[in-house]
Protein backbone atom coordinates (compact mmCIF):
# COMPACT_ATOMS: atom_id res chain seq x y z
CA UNK A 1 0.00 0.00 0.00
CA UNK A 2 1.18 3.51 -0.65
CA UNK A 3 -0.14 6.71 0.81
CA UNK A 4 -2.05 9.17 -1.32
CA UNK A 5 0.11 12.03 -0.05
CA UNK A 6 3.83 11.59 -0.50
CA UNK A 7 5.31 15.04 0.08
CA UNK A 8 4.78 18.70 0.86
CA UNK A 9 5.95 21.94 -0.69
CA UNK A 10 8.67 24.10 0.82
CA UNK A 11 8.57 27.85 0.43
CA UNK A 12 11.53 29.44 -1.30
CA UNK A 13 12.66 32.94 -0.37
CA UNK A 14 13.64 33.58 -3.99
CA UNK A 15 10.19 32.66 -5.37
CA UNK A 16 8.83 35.53 -7.41
CA UNK A 17 6.92 34.89 -10.59
CA UNK A 18 5.62 37.59 -12.88
CA UNK A 19 2.16 37.06 -14.32
CA UNK A 20 1.37 36.80 -17.99
CA UNK A 21 1.55 34.59 -21.02
CA UNK A 22 4.39 34.59 -23.48
CA UNK A 23 4.02 32.26 -26.43
CA UNK A 24 1.05 30.06 -27.25
CA UNK A 25 1.26 27.04 -29.55
CA UNK A 26 -1.74 25.12 -30.80
CA UNK A 27 -1.93 21.85 -32.74
CA UNK A 28 -4.83 19.86 -34.11
CA UNK A 29 -5.51 16.81 -31.96
CA UNK A 30 -4.42 14.35 -34.66
CA UNK A 31 -1.13 16.20 -35.23
CA UNK A 32 0.16 14.86 -31.90
CA UNK A 33 0.38 11.09 -31.55
CA UNK A 34 2.09 10.46 -28.22
CA UNK A 35 3.55 12.11 -25.15
CA UNK A 36 5.58 10.68 -22.31
CA UNK A 37 5.93 11.93 -18.76
CA UNK A 38 9.47 10.95 -17.94
CA UNK A 39 10.56 14.23 -16.39
CA UNK A 40 12.01 14.21 -12.87
CA UNK A 41 8.67 15.23 -11.39
CA UNK A 42 6.46 13.76 -14.11
CA UNK A 43 6.84 16.55 -16.64
CA UNK A 44 6.05 15.80 -20.28
CA UNK A 45 9.47 15.13 -21.73
CA UNK A 46 8.71 13.92 -25.23
CA UNK A 47 6.24 14.79 -27.92
CA UNK A 48 5.71 12.61 -30.97
CA UNK A 49 4.07 14.24 -33.95
CA UNK A 50 2.25 12.65 -36.85
CA UNK A 51 4.42 12.06 -39.90
CA UNK A 52 1.88 11.83 -42.69
CA UNK A 53 0.56 14.44 -42.80
CA UNK A 54 3.30 16.18 -40.84
CA UNK A 55 1.99 17.36 -37.48
CA UNK A 56 3.23 20.65 -36.06
CA UNK A 57 2.23 23.22 -33.49
CA UNK A 58 1.32 26.68 -34.75
CA UNK A 59 2.25 29.76 -32.78
CA UNK A 60 -0.43 32.30 -31.99
CA UNK A 61 0.94 35.68 -30.97
CA UNK A 62 -1.48 37.41 -28.67
CA UNK A 63 -1.04 41.08 -27.91
CA UNK A 64 1.06 41.81 -24.86
CA UNK A 65 -0.68 41.47 -21.52
CA UNK A 66 -3.93 40.28 -23.04
CA UNK A 67 -3.54 36.50 -22.79
CA UNK A 68 -4.25 34.69 -19.57
CA UNK A 69 -4.49 31.06 -18.55
CA UNK A 70 -6.90 29.96 -15.86
CA UNK A 71 -7.17 26.50 -14.44
CA UNK A 72 -10.17 25.80 -12.23
CA UNK A 73 -10.36 22.61 -10.18
CA UNK A 74 -13.70 21.65 -8.70
CA UNK A 75 -14.44 18.61 -6.61
CA UNK A 76 -18.01 18.77 -5.42
CA UNK A 77 -18.62 15.00 -5.23
CA UNK A 78 -15.10 13.81 -4.67
CA UNK A 79 -14.20 13.65 -8.35
CA UNK A 80 -11.79 16.31 -9.48
CA UNK A 81 -12.78 18.19 -12.61
CA UNK A 82 -10.35 20.69 -14.07
CA UNK A 83 -11.21 23.28 -16.67
CA UNK A 84 -8.17 24.77 -18.36
CA UNK A 85 -8.92 27.99 -20.17
CA UNK A 86 -6.85 30.43 -22.17
CA UNK A 87 -8.13 33.76 -23.40
CA UNK A 88 -6.12 36.05 -25.62
CA UNK A 89 -6.50 38.98 -27.95
CA UNK A 90 -5.30 39.37 -31.52
CA UNK A 91 -5.27 43.05 -32.37
CA UNK A 92 -6.34 44.51 -35.75
CA UNK A 93 -9.02 42.42 -37.40
CA UNK A 94 -8.12 40.95 -40.78
CA UNK A 95 -8.97 38.18 -43.22
CA UNK A 96 -5.90 36.26 -42.07
CA UNK A 97 -7.06 36.35 -38.44
CA UNK A 98 -10.60 35.55 -39.48
CA UNK A 99 -9.34 32.46 -41.33
CA UNK A 100 -7.22 31.29 -38.40
CA UNK A 101 -10.15 31.63 -35.99
CA UNK A 102 -12.47 29.79 -38.38
CA UNK A 103 -9.93 26.99 -38.68
CA UNK A 104 -9.80 26.68 -34.90
CA UNK A 105 -13.59 26.57 -34.92
CA UNK A 106 -13.58 23.79 -37.51
CA UNK A 107 -11.35 21.51 -35.41
CA UNK A 108 -14.22 19.50 -33.98
CA UNK A 109 -11.90 16.72 -32.82
CA UNK A 110 -10.15 19.30 -30.73
CA UNK A 111 -6.79 20.86 -30.08
CA UNK A 112 -3.69 20.47 -27.94
CA UNK A 113 -2.28 23.66 -26.46
CA UNK A 114 1.13 24.61 -25.11
CA UNK A 115 1.49 27.96 -23.43
CA UNK A 116 4.54 29.60 -21.96
CA UNK A 117 4.06 31.66 -18.83
CA UNK A 118 6.05 34.73 -17.87
CA UNK A 119 7.82 32.58 -15.30
CA UNK A 120 9.38 30.68 -18.20
CA UNK A 121 7.45 27.50 -17.45
CA UNK A 122 5.61 25.86 -20.31
CA UNK A 123 2.46 23.82 -19.86
CA UNK A 124 0.66 21.42 -22.19
CA UNK A 125 -3.05 20.73 -21.96
CA UNK A 126 -5.94 19.37 -23.97
CA UNK A 127 -4.37 15.90 -23.65
CA UNK A 128 -6.32 12.66 -23.68
CA UNK A 129 -5.58 9.03 -22.91
CA UNK A 130 -4.96 8.53 -26.61
CA UNK A 131 -1.54 10.14 -26.12
CA UNK A 132 -0.58 8.47 -22.87
CA UNK A 133 -2.39 5.66 -21.05
CA UNK A 134 -1.41 6.86 -17.61
CA UNK A 135 -2.91 10.28 -18.09
CA UNK A 136 -6.09 11.01 -16.20
CA UNK A 137 -9.23 11.22 -18.29
CA UNK A 138 -9.50 14.35 -20.39
CA UNK A 139 -10.85 15.89 -23.54
CA UNK A 140 -8.99 17.76 -26.22
CA UNK A 141 -9.20 21.55 -26.02
CA UNK A 142 -11.82 23.39 -28.04
CA UNK A 143 -12.35 26.93 -29.19
CA UNK A 144 -15.33 27.89 -27.06
CA UNK A 145 -15.78 31.56 -27.89
CA UNK A 146 -14.55 34.37 -30.06
CA UNK A 147 -15.47 38.00 -30.19
CA UNK A 148 -14.46 40.44 -32.86
CA UNK A 149 -14.96 44.13 -32.18
CA UNK A 150 -14.35 47.12 -34.42
CA UNK A 151 -14.45 49.73 -31.66
CA UNK A 152 -16.47 52.94 -31.96
CA UNK A 153 -14.02 55.74 -31.31
CA UNK A 154 -10.39 56.12 -32.26
CA UNK A 155 -9.13 55.04 -28.86
CA UNK A 156 -11.20 51.86 -28.85
CA UNK A 157 -9.65 48.51 -29.60
CA UNK A 158 -10.11 46.83 -32.97
CA UNK A 159 -9.49 43.20 -32.16
CA UNK A 160 -10.42 39.54 -31.95
CA UNK A 161 -10.58 37.83 -28.58
CA UNK A 162 -10.71 34.06 -28.42
CA UNK A 163 -11.06 31.54 -25.62
CA UNK A 164 -9.88 27.93 -25.77
CA UNK A 165 -10.91 25.48 -23.08
CA UNK A 166 -10.25 21.88 -22.14
CA UNK A 167 -11.91 19.72 -19.51
CA UNK A 168 -9.95 17.02 -17.75
CA UNK A 169 -9.65 15.06 -14.53
CA UNK A 170 -6.17 16.51 -13.94
CA UNK A 171 -4.31 19.77 -14.21
CA UNK A 172 -2.15 20.75 -17.16
CA UNK A 173 1.27 19.11 -17.28
CA UNK A 174 4.51 21.03 -17.36
CA UNK A 175 6.61 20.60 -20.47
CA UNK A 176 10.18 19.62 -19.70
CA UNK A 177 12.72 22.25 -20.67
CA UNK A 178 14.52 19.78 -22.95
CA UNK A 179 11.55 19.49 -25.28
CA UNK A 180 11.73 21.53 -28.47
CA UNK A 181 8.23 22.39 -29.62
CA UNK A 182 7.79 21.06 -33.20
CA UNK A 183 6.59 24.08 -35.17
Amino acid sequence: MSFCLTGGISGNCTDSCAGGIGRVYIAASEALTAVTTGGAAGEVDSLTMSLAPVGVFFEFEFYQETAAFTETLERPQGNASVVSSLTGTLICRSQEKRNAIMELASCSCGLVVIHEEASGKRFIWGLTKAYLDTLAFGYNAQLVSGEGVSGAVITDNNQETITIEAKSAAKALELDSTVVIPV
Binding site: T36, T37, G38, S46, T48, M49
Partner: protein, 71 residues
Protein backbone atom coordinates in the same frame (compact mmCIF):
# COMPACT_ATOMS: atom_id res chain seq x y z
CA UNK B 1 20.45 -1.34 -28.25
CA UNK B 2 17.01 0.07 -28.87
CA UNK B 3 14.93 0.35 -32.00
CA UNK B 4 11.65 1.81 -33.24
CA UNK B 5 8.79 -0.66 -33.42
CA UNK B 6 7.78 -1.82 -36.88
CA UNK B 7 5.16 0.43 -38.40
CA UNK B 8 5.74 3.25 -35.91
CA UNK B 9 6.72 6.60 -37.33
CA UNK B 10 6.57 10.23 -36.36
CA UNK B 11 8.59 13.23 -35.47
CA UNK B 12 9.82 13.15 -31.91
CA UNK B 13 11.01 15.92 -29.66
CA UNK B 14 12.89 15.03 -26.52
CA UNK B 15 16.18 15.75 -24.80
CA UNK B 16 16.85 18.51 -27.26
CA UNK B 17 16.40 16.20 -30.27
CA UNK B 18 13.76 17.14 -32.80
CA UNK B 19 13.50 14.85 -35.79
CA UNK B 20 12.21 11.57 -37.12
CA UNK B 21 11.98 8.91 -34.44
CA UNK B 22 13.44 6.41 -36.93
CA UNK B 23 16.54 8.56 -37.26
CA UNK B 24 16.92 9.32 -33.55
CA UNK B 25 20.29 8.46 -32.04
CA UNK B 26 20.59 5.52 -29.67
CA UNK B 27 20.71 7.68 -26.55
CA UNK B 28 17.40 9.29 -27.51
CA UNK B 29 15.80 5.90 -28.20
CA UNK B 30 17.16 4.63 -24.90
CA UNK B 31 15.66 7.61 -23.08
CA UNK B 32 12.32 7.13 -24.85
CA UNK B 33 12.29 3.44 -23.93
CA UNK B 34 12.97 4.13 -20.27
CA UNK B 35 10.20 6.71 -20.02
CA UNK B 36 7.72 4.29 -21.54
CA UNK B 37 7.39 5.46 -25.13
CA UNK B 38 5.13 2.97 -26.88
CA UNK B 39 7.01 3.20 -30.17
CA UNK B 40 10.41 2.05 -28.91
CA UNK B 41 11.57 -1.43 -27.94
CA UNK B 42 14.75 -3.21 -27.05
CA UNK B 43 16.46 -4.63 -30.08
CA UNK B 44 17.04 -8.38 -29.89
CA UNK B 45 20.59 -9.57 -29.43
CA UNK B 46 22.23 -10.44 -32.75
CA UNK B 47 22.32 -14.20 -33.32
CA UNK B 48 25.69 -15.86 -33.02
CA UNK B 49 26.90 -17.36 -36.23
CA UNK B 50 26.78 -21.14 -36.10
CA UNK B 51 30.21 -22.69 -36.36
CA UNK B 52 30.83 -24.65 -39.48
CA UNK B 53 30.90 -28.38 -38.87
CA UNK B 54 34.27 -29.82 -39.60
CA UNK B 55 34.53 -33.54 -40.14
CA UNK B 56 36.77 -35.12 -37.59
CA UNK B 57 40.01 -36.30 -38.96
CA UNK B 58 40.46 -39.89 -38.04
CA UNK B 59 44.00 -40.55 -37.18
CA UNK B 60 45.60 -43.87 -36.73
CA UNK B 61 46.18 -44.75 -33.20
CA UNK B 62 49.45 -43.42 -32.03
CA UNK B 63 52.27 -45.89 -32.25
CA UNK B 64 50.42 -48.36 -34.37
CA UNK B 65 51.67 -49.04 -37.78
CA UNK B 66 49.45 -48.97 -40.74
CA UNK B 67 48.53 -52.46 -41.89
CA UNK B 68 51.01 -53.72 -44.34
CA UNK B 69 49.80 -54.27 -47.82
CA UNK B 70 50.34 -57.82 -48.76
CA UNK B 71 52.35 -58.25 -51.87
Amino acid sequence: MFRVKKGYSGKVSTKGYLGLIKEAPQEVLEHLFHIGHNGVEEAPQPKKKAKKKVDKVIDNKEGEDLPKIEE
